[in-house]
């Protein structure tokens, strides 16, 4: 994990940035891109977990990608439909920086209690925006009180912007209908992945986190989009994961 915030950024970071940027123009799976982004956050920022939440147009924020599919972490992201940094970032359109959650127990009593149970001490939420419209937020959790530097917060904004462009992949979004189509497409892809993960966990008797890792490995080994491999699992075409 790189925690440097000076000009000496390692080349691995640039290589990853190039790969992510390439995927924006070569055609891709929005869930794949979001998955890559949250894993990149773990590699290049001093955070212990990362997630991308998206407006589902039904009055909720939904998880599009999470650095772990462990159920309690997913539910901590979702709990922010009631209160928490993600909801505030989404509602206000501004970044919410809470490096010390112990100070926020009055502001977010439910969220801070649940976060403490998962050893999460700090939280950040960066809104994902296109023009004047907020479509979701990037959520980052820290397991220490060191917090993110200003440069690292800037990097989080770059990640959030790339996620936005990855989900709204038409460069000419002229109408909100097109935005609605693409948000629904991304979220439905995510549902297919959740169902496939449940099927793999049931067959293997393992955890959701392990089941998702198997799914991701299978997708990478065959160089196919995550959503395609997940669809094969839900349709019974792939049973040996």
């Amino acid at each position: 994990m790189s925690t440097s915030d000076n000009a000496e950024v390692d080349t691995g970071f640039f290589a990853r940035l190039v790969t992510l940027a390439d995927s924006l123009v070569t055609g891709f799976d929005p869930v794949d891109l979001a998955d890559n982004l949250v894993l990149s956050c773990l590699d290049f920022l001093p955070v212990v977990s990362a997630g991308i939440m998206l407006d589902d147009q039904r009055g909720h924020l939904r998880v599009l990608a999470s650095s772990s599919e462990e159920t309690r972490l997913l539910e901590l992201f979702e709990l922010q439909n009631n209160e928490g940094p993600c909801l505030e970032a989404f509602a206000s359109g501004s970044g919410v920086l809470a490096p010390d959650l112990a100070r926020e127990s009055t502001r977010w009593p439910l969220f801070t209690a649940e976060a403490a149970g998962l050893s999460i001490l700090g939280a950040y939420a960066i809104p994902m925006q296109l023009k004047d419209r907020t479509i979701g937020a990037l959520n980052l959790f820290c397991d220490n009180l060191d917090g993110l530097t200003e440069a690292q917060v800037q990097l989080s904004r770059v990640m959030a912007t790339m996620a936005t462009l990855g989900i709204l992949n038409h460069w000419t979004i002229r109408r909100q209908e097109v935005m609605a189509e693409q948000l629904q497409f991304a979220l439905n892809s995510r549902v297919v992945i959740e169902q496939a993960t449940g099927m793999i966990a049931e067959r293997s008797g393992g955890s959701m986190a392990t089941a998702f890792d198997r799914l991701r490995s299978a997708a990478r080994a065959s160089r196919r989009p995550l959503t395609d491999v997940a669809t094969d699992v839900t349709r019974g075409r792939l049973k040996d994961l």
């Binding site: 909720h60 309690r72 972490l73 539910e75 109408r175 693409q182 979220l187 959740e194 966990a201 986190a209």
Partner: protein
């Protein structure tokens, strides 16, 4: 507005295409199918829901609404049409295999065309624009009715003038497709739920609000039943309804391996059998890796 519906069309593609599993599970599913056909029928609910939509002021410009069933990404018969042009639009798209509807079914996402004469996709729908010209429509909104990987049907709205939906109308349309999914998959639950304002809260329980754990549980239960994700969702909803719990609460028990529908028998599950126990909301979480 005329409710244009024939019983034959209404029965095309049962909401339970695969009656699977054994014992009590099979009995329950068969009962449900019977109930669907003779009592709380999907088509009645769909007709009631769509009739309410066309009379909503927000959709005053919508000239017609149709709901078709789908099966494996293809049209499987018109279930409801609020007007002859609405029926004709669905029939034409089914025949051509082209247009906003077939695209929406293929992509698993809405295809919303406020102006048929000014949409880049219209060029790839060879013959569609010409074929629907006599119907005199300018905008078509096609929304898949689905549960994750499983496509149940298609909601199509059209208007004669070009019509750009505002954000609120779009959100309503997306939520309408969710309610139609329940009407197609678990009509008896809507029928049994309380009337009036209490029905809203019952529906909200069924709609769930999109929790990841619900879809993880649907995947698990589909393997336990040896059936489809539709079967699994119908089973989870029925259990939630019968026990008065919210769908998400039932899903948490399944993922924690405290509730199982193995071989169609509702059981307590076997938490000791899987390392996944720590995943559960009630797990001990000593080995949580986040």
């Amino acid at each position: 507005m005329t409710v244009d519906l024939t019983p034959d069309e209404a029965l095309i593609a049962s909401p339970f295409p695969q009656v699977v599993a054994s014992g009590t599970m099979r009995g329950w599913l068969v009962d449900s199918v019977d109930a669907t056909r003779d009592g709380p029928r999907s088509e009645k609910l769909v007709a009631a829901i769509c009739s309410a939509v066309v009379s909503t002021p927000r959709y005053a410009k919508i000239a017609g609404v149709a709901v078709s069933r789908s099966w494996q990404g293809q049209y499987a018969g018109v279930l409801f049409a609020s007007s002859p042009p609405a029926r004709e639009l669905d029939s034409l798209q089914e025949t051509l295999g082209l247009g906003p509807g077939p695209s929406a079914l293929r992509e698993g996402a809405p295809v919303l065309v406020p102006d048929l004469d000014d949409d880049p996709r219209a060029r790839s729908w060879v013959g569609f624009v010409e074929a629907v010209a006599p119907l005199g429509l300018s905008s078509v909104y096609a929304l898949p009715i689905q549960v994750g990987a499983s496509s149940l049907g298609l909601l199509t709205m059209h208007s004669q003038a070009t019509f750009a939906m505002n954000d609120e109308a779009l959100r309503d349309a997306v939520q309408l497709s969710d309610v139609l999914a329940i009407a197609l998959l678990s009509p008896q639950l809507i029928d049994q739920s309380a009337g009036g304002s209490a029905r809203d809260s019952e529906l909200n329980k069924l709609l769930d609000g999109g929790h990841a754990v619900t879809h993880q549980a649907i995947g698990m239960v589909s393997v336990q039943l040896g059936g489809s994700v539709d079967d699994a969702l119908a089973m989870l909803r029925a259990h939630a309804f019968a026990t008065g719990a919210a769908l998400v609460e039932v899903a948490r028990l399944v993922v924690a391996r405290e509730l199982s529908f193995q071989d169609g028998e509702i059981g307590p599950g076997d938490p000791a059998s899987g390392a996944g126990h720590a995943d559960g909301a009630k797990g001990d979480d000593d080995d949580v890796d986040i």
